[in-house]
């Protein structure tokens, strides 16, 4: 009697488990995205949204992940950190998402981080600053390169050319400010000397005054400009106007064809670190990134009629890393997915080759950057 009861119970349990398993199979995998699609950071969020939507569609057409469809829920925080926080809460509490992607900017990411940590949901950020993954947060990962890596790559190149006395000219907001601080710190570590340190506002129409000061500063061997948008283009044009002879370096913030278009001839000889995606055409055939970035560019170009920016690439990498991890984990169990993301190893993405670990939740090295020089209106690989 007792034995029979036990057997029935076991059978019932098995049936229940099977039923719930079936129900789960029908339920989609929910990915929540908080992106700055409009507002000042829309140049980040807009291509990110396009990329996520495009590739989620593709994956669903190919049968989804683990036999389940992928459902993407996107909220636009318009670049505001408080909105990012409330949308994150909504994604977690009412949409019951399995994983979070986004935070187009460092500010919106940092607003979402405490919520992801508290609710124990894997979170892949698309923002730049090193503070997102340093110190390591258990549930938080990111795909883009950091400004610190860019500074390392640039100073390495300067050292190779025997240039050790550097002048900085940086935008006095967000990206430029953080880049300047990282540059000062990295220069010290690498034994370079900062001999001039000037700033400009993001919308300044002319920076010849600052550049004249740099030109007249004694011993300047190279100049580094951290910023993005119109600022670096104006710096480059003014640099040429003043005829400064020291080589000019730009950051990865301007690694787009738009920069070359805006500056024209003045960009000749400018060097900058760029992700594989930007220089897809120039990569040697043997480069492991070549097929990935060529394929991604083609797909984006056909769908949207324009070249994908590196930001679109970050979203692509985030989605691929997330889905691959869910696949390896075999379920959407949050702890298992988190562990699987952390075990990402040798993933070849648009930003570089990603190998994460318990102490590195980004998984890229300065090698992910290629040093390029602008020659005759196009990128040319230096290394």
């Amino acid at each position: 009697m007792k034995k029979l009861f036990k057997r029935t119970a076991a059978a019932a349990f098995a049936a229940a488990a099977l039923a719930s398993g079936l129900a789960q199979a029908a339920e989609p995998i929910k990915i929540g995205a908080i992106l700055s699609v409009t507002g000042g950071a829309s140049f980040l969020g807009d291509p990110e949204k396009k990329t996520l939507e495009m590739f989620v569609d593709r994956i669903n057409k190919d049968g989804g992940v683990l036999g389940r469809k992928v459902e993407l829920i996107v909220y636009d925080d318009a670049g505001a950190a408080d909105k990012a926080a409330s949308f994150t809460k909504r994604l977690i509490d009412s949409d019951n998402v399995d994983l979070l992607i986004g935070g187009s900017t460092t500010a919106t990411t940092m607003a979402a981080v405490p919520l992801a940590e508290k609710n124990e949901i894997p979170f892949i950020s698309l923002a730049g600053a090193v503070t997102i993954v340093e110190p390591v947060k258990k549930w938080v990962f990111k795909t883009p390169h950091t400004d610190r890596m860019a500074a390392q790559k640039i100073f390495e190149d300067m050292k190779k050319r025997g240039l050790t006395k550097v002048a900085l000219i940086s935008e006095d907001a967000g990206f430029g400010k953080s880049g300047r601080d990282q540059s000062v710190a990295v220069a010290k570590e690498m034994g370079l000397e900062i001999v001039a340190d000037e700033t400009y506002s993001p919308k300044d129409p002319d920076v010849t005054a600052q550049l004249t000061k740099i030109k007249n500063a004694p011993g300047v061997q190279a100049v580094l400009n951290f910023g993005f948008g119109q600022g670096p283009a104006i710096v480059t044009k003014n640099y040429k106007q003043l005829g400064v002879s020291a080589p000019l370096y730009q950051s990865h913030g301007v690694a787009s064809k738009e920069f070359i278009k805006l500056t024209g001839e003045a960009a000749e000889g400018v060097r900058l670190p760029a992700a594989g995606l930007v220089v897809a055409d120039q990569l040697p055939a043997a480069d492991p990134q070549k097929p990935v970035v060529t394929e991604f560019r083609k797909a984006f170009q056909t769908a949207h009629g324009m070249e994908p920016s590196t930001f679109a690439g970050h979203a692509y990498d985030g989605l691929q890393i997330a889905l691959a991890a869910i696949n390896r984990a075999g379920s959407t169990d949050k702890a298992k997915v988190r562990d699987a993301i952390e075990q990402t190893s040798g993933y070849v993405g648009t930003g570089g080759i990603v190998t994460m670990s318990a102490t590195d939740h980004m998984g890229l090295s300065p090698k992910a950057f290629h040093m390029v020089e602008i020659r005759q209106g196009d990128w040319s690989l230096v290394d």
Binding site: G40, S42, F43, D46, D172, E198, T199, Y200, S201, K203, D204, P205, D206, V207, T208, A209, Q210, T212, K213, N216, G229, Q230, A233, I234, K240, Q241, L242, G243, E258, K261, L262, G264, E265, A266
Partner: protein, 291 residues
């Protein structure tokens, strides 16, 4: 030493001329309606963007410029007809708020039409810098200065020598009296929006090769132009020019001789200082309202 000073001066004059052109537009509308049109920056942006589009479509620059000015003028007329005129009886403050709303709307439309990228135009007479005593000046800066001067002369002639210009001035002095002597005040207001839109467009076009343009370009140019107009005395054309040049040169000298981190602060301290002693600006009317 001399070359350094000259370079700072050239930089300041270039920036200043850009601010001045923007400031002039504020003055015209203020003159005829006492409204500060915060969509002035958007006129500048539309002028630049429309020219870029037309040039991109293969229209020669010499034809693209008048076309773009005409487009911007139409936007100015539409703004007056559709947003300002229906609120005729409203207070000046309400009208100013309407122009702020219009500026946000125009920026949004521009973003949809032209996207979020930066655009540029080729410099009108090449990119070879002109050397003067070791300092360099771009030919485009001379264009900006020249156009600014030409605009002042034309405006001076228009306001002092033509009937319609005089009617606009009369309206600015006393709208009620102007109406009584048969001036069509409604048309004056409409024309003032068209005129300052055209002016903004001209400014936007000549500065685009230097500063580039994007859907957001009007924010900074509008704000600095407003500062220039206030410094020089709202409603005074020559004042707007002087104000623009003072702000521009103060910024460049501040960045050159003091610290680039404080250059904006230096310009604003000068503005505050001037307004503290001359509340109606450098060239503003000294009169006070009597009740």
């Amino acid at each position: 030493m001399v070359s350094e000073f000259l370079q700072y001066l050239f930089s300041g004059v270039t920036i200043g001329a850009i601010y001045a052109l923007s400031g002039l537009g504020f003055s015209i509308i203020y003159n005829s309606s006492h409204v500060i049109n915060f969509a002035q920056g958007e006129f500048i942006m539309i002028g630049g963007m429309a020219t870029v589009s037309l040039v991109g479509m293969g229209v020669p620059l010499a034809l693209a410029i008048p076309l773009a000015v005409a487009v911007t003028m139409l936007v100015g007329f539409a703004l007056e007809k559709l947003a300002v005129e229906p609120a005729r009886g409203a207070s000046v403050t309400t009208l100013i708020i309407i122009t702020i709303g219009a500026s946000i709307f125009l920026r949004g439309v521009a973003q949809v039409i032209w996207g979020k990228d930066f655009h540029s135009l080729p410099a009108f007479s090449g990119d070879a810098p002109i050397g003067v005593f070791g300092a360099t000046l771009m030919p485009q800066s001379l264009w900006v200065l020249g156009v600014t001067l030409a605009v002042i002369l034309v405006l001076g002639w228009f306001f002092n020598r033509t009937l319609f210009g005089k009617a606009m001035l009369a309206t600015s002095v006393n709208a009620m009296a102007a109406r009584l002597v048969g001036i069509n005040v409604k048309r004056v207001l409409l024309m003032s929006f068209g005129l300052s839109a055209a002016l903004g467009a001209v400014g936007g076009i000549v500065v685009t090769p230097i500063t580039f343009t994007s859907y957001e370009a009007g924010i900074m140019l509008g704000l600095k132009g407003f500062a220039a107009a206030v410094l020089g005395g709202l409603g005074n054309g020559a004042g707007a020019i002087a104000g623009g040049l003072i702000v521009g040169i103060a910024e460049a000298m501040g960045a050159g001789y003091l610290s680039s981190a404080y250059k904006d602060a230096i310009a604003f301290v000068i503005i505050l200082f001037v307004l503290f002693f001359l509340p109606s600006g450098l060239f503003g009317k000294r009169g006070a309202d009597r009740v």
